[in-house]
């Protein structure tokens, strides 16, 4: 079964450093999402792409977070500078279109020290 690929699986960084996460959605999935999940809580949407366009980034802290999906396939989420409160699981998900269920990757666990 096709999966959403994410890397790295784990990332430890010092505060004020820059970090980047990569996501490769299921082939053919036009819609891509980045979610953040704090331990013990449900995922929260950061940004949603339709092909290469951002359709919702209302919850993305744009002073330090950025996301891109230049060719409408894989995507990168960047944090610069990282803060202690950014420690969380960063999940990527994709769907065939806006009408279908989301398929999640296994996430990147970020620890900021």
């Amino acid at each position: 079964e096709a999966e959403v690929a994410q890397s790295p699986r784990y990332k430890i960084t010092e505060k004020s450093q820059a970090v980047a996460f990569w996501c490769d959605p299921i082939s053919g999935h036009a819609t891509l999402y980045w979610y953040r999940q704090i331990l013990g809580q449900g995922p929260e949407l950061l940004v949603q792409f339709q092909d290469e366009s951002v359709v919702d980034d209302s919850q993305l802290p744009k002073d330090r977070f950025s996301a891109e999906r230049l060719k409408g396939v894989d995507s990168t989420l960047k944090i610069q500078p990282a803060e202690l409160g950014d420690s969380a699981m960063y999940l990527c998900a994709s769907s065939l279109g806006v009408g279908g269920p989301l398929h999640f990757g296994n996430g990147t666990r970020l620890t900021v020290t």
């Binding site: 809580q41 995922p43 949407l45 919702d56 009408g99 269920p101 999640f104 296994n106």
Partner: protein, 113 residues
């Protein structure tokens, strides 16, 4: 703000018994609901979804019930197995699609032998 929540943070059931995981939602405009299963260290896995024009939907060993009158959602797992041990999230959406899902905080299901 409006939110999706769960009544029980932890549910312990014996192997072979049926499990019922409950979820209350507060947004009466929500019209699409999904249940996800999340195992430790993994991303959420789609289980089953239901739209607001239905009150019951069945899958393999799982049934989702939707009561719009009291804004309540439940997931029933038949003949619970050790592999069912995980955190279960309900999620809601207002536009009838899977975009902009709002997740609850989750219920941990523990299956005892």
């Amino acid at each position: 703000g409006e939110s999706v929540g769960l009544h029980l943070p932890t549910l312990s059931v014996q192997e072979g018994d049926n499990s019922i995981i409950n979820c209350a939602y507060s947004n009466s405009a929500s019209d699409y609901f999904i249940w996800y299963k999340q195992e430790s260290g993994k991303g959420p896995q789609f289980i089953i979804d239901i739209r607001s024009n239905m009150d019951k939907r069945q899958g393999q060993r799982v049934t989702v019930l939707l009561n719009k009158t009291v804004k309540h959602l439940s997931l029933q797992i038949a003949a619970t197995q050790p592999g069912d041990s995980a955190v279960y999230f309900c999620a809601e959406n207002m536009s009838g699609t899977a975009s902009k899902l709002t997740f609850g905080t989750g219920t941990r299901l523990q299956v005892t032998l």
